[in-house]
């Protein structure tokens, strides 16, 4: 009788241990925080900036690829929210990014803007690793006219939402530039992510 009781306790212990590990383990719910850029990836001295390629004719983008962080996602058009901030793609599709359709097309002179989710309710999404991107990395954007615009990363910054540098991120540029934006900058249970990771890049070629 005692033996049966002990076996039952042993079984319950093993099952409880297993489910405890499963419930709290890395594979099921919580993941590690998305990578954040280091200060070394900040804006370089002006003299250090690489030469820009000539601007491309305007053509809407269809896809973005960032080989260094294994991003390969279609792009949808984004508008502004009623409050004037950039809208975001639907969170349900974790491999979808968007571009600001009323703005500059990637490759055209000016500042083109691409945004995507760092995560959704199911876990990491398209730009989860954006904060791990390094200066000099390549970003490729497929355009509808069959051109591929190739950008080179100048800087990876993280900005707090309450002190967001609009002009620096969205402001007009004299050469073809690209911004890739996702959430980042610390996380609060009540207000969510505290800011954004912003990748600054400029056009260095096309094919």
């Amino acid at each position: 009788m005692r033996k049966i009781g002990d076996t039952a306790i042993a079984a319950v212990t093993v099952v409880a241990l297993g489910s405890g590990v499963w419930l709290l383990g890395p594979g099921s719910g919580p993941h590690t925080a998305p990578p954040q850029p280091s200060a070394a990836e900040g804006r370089p001295d002006p003299g250090e900036e690489r030469l820009a390629a000539p601007a491309l004719p305007p053509s809407p983008p269809t896809r973005i690829r960032i080989p260094a962080i294994h991003v390969n996602a279609p792009l949808m058009g984004l508008a502004l929210t009623p409050s004037g901030s950039l809208d975001v793609p639907p969170a349900g599709d974790k491999n979808l990014a968007g571009w600001y359709e009323a703005g500059t097309t990637p490759g055209e002179t000016g500042t083109a803007i691409v945004a995507g989710h760092v995560d959704n309710t199911e876990g990491p999404a398209v730009f989860y690793d954006l904060g791990a991107l390094k200066r000099g990395a390549a970003i490729e954007v497929d355009l509808r006219n069959r051109t591929v615009a190739v950008f080179t990363v100048d800087a990876v910054e993280v900005y707090q939402a309450r002190d967001f540098p609009d002009e620096k991120v969205y402001g007009a540029a004299k050469r073809p530039e690209l911004r890739v934006i996702t959430c980042g900058g610390g996380y609060s249970r009540t207000t969510g992510y505290q800011g954004n990771v912003v990748v600054f890049a400029h056009l260095t070629g096309s094919r």
């Binding site: 405890g20 998305p34 004037g84 901030s85 950039l86 009323a102 703005g103 002179t109 509808r144």
Partner: protein
């Protein structure tokens, strides 16, 4: 999804437009010829594309209304659309112009509107409405823990610890398992 809907409506309306010959000018997408950008300045380059000519269908574009003459729309890999480009003449006057494309096969005619505005390209960029503020691109699921799940996990581990302790205690007393 939006794209598919647009392609379907575009094709349907283009067919209707062909039947009516002189079709009224709808918006670019609705009448089957997308003009991008829909507002350009004199000297600017414009891309047009249409899905109306079918897979691998080419078309002849006519931007004569704005003084840019004819151009070719070649079939592309992108969603089976025919794509072409032309340059707005430097002397073009502000206004709205109808751009026409005629499919090589079947003579289907699709149209789209191009607005010419005097603002130079660089100026129009500066005047564009810019977004402001941060972007809501995450929910924190990648790091925030589901509290119910955490509670369940902790409870399960507590049970395991209790069970383990009990069994070890018994073994230490030499009762065997």
């Amino acid at each position: 999804m939006r794209r598919t809907v647009r392609l379907l409506t575009g094709t349907a309306l283009a067919a209707a437009a062909a039947g009516l010959a002189a079709a009224p000018a709808y918006g670019g997408g609705a009448s089957g010829l997308d003009v991008y950008p829909s507002t350009a300045s004199p000297g600017g380059q414009v891309s047009v594309n249409t899905a109306a000519c079918g897979e691998k269908g080419s078309a002849v574009g006519d931007a004569g209304s704005v003084g840019a003459g004819t151009f070719t729309l070649a079939p592309s890999a992108h969603e089976g659309e025919a794509i072409g480009q032309f340059r707005v003449p430097a002397g073009a006057q502000p206004g709205t112009y109808e751009i026409v494309a005629t499919c090589a096969a079947g003579n289907l005619r699709v149209t789209g509107d191009l607005t010419v505005a005097m603002t130079p390209a660089a100026g129009s960029q500066a005047q564009q409405l810019q977004p402001h503020g941060s972007v809501k691109t995450g929910v924190g699921a990648a790091l925030g823990t589901d509290s119910v799940q955490t509670t369940a996990g902790v409870a399960a581990l507590a049970v395991a610890a209790a069970g383990g302790t009990w069994l070890l205690h018994r073994r230490a007393r030499g009762d065997g398992i």
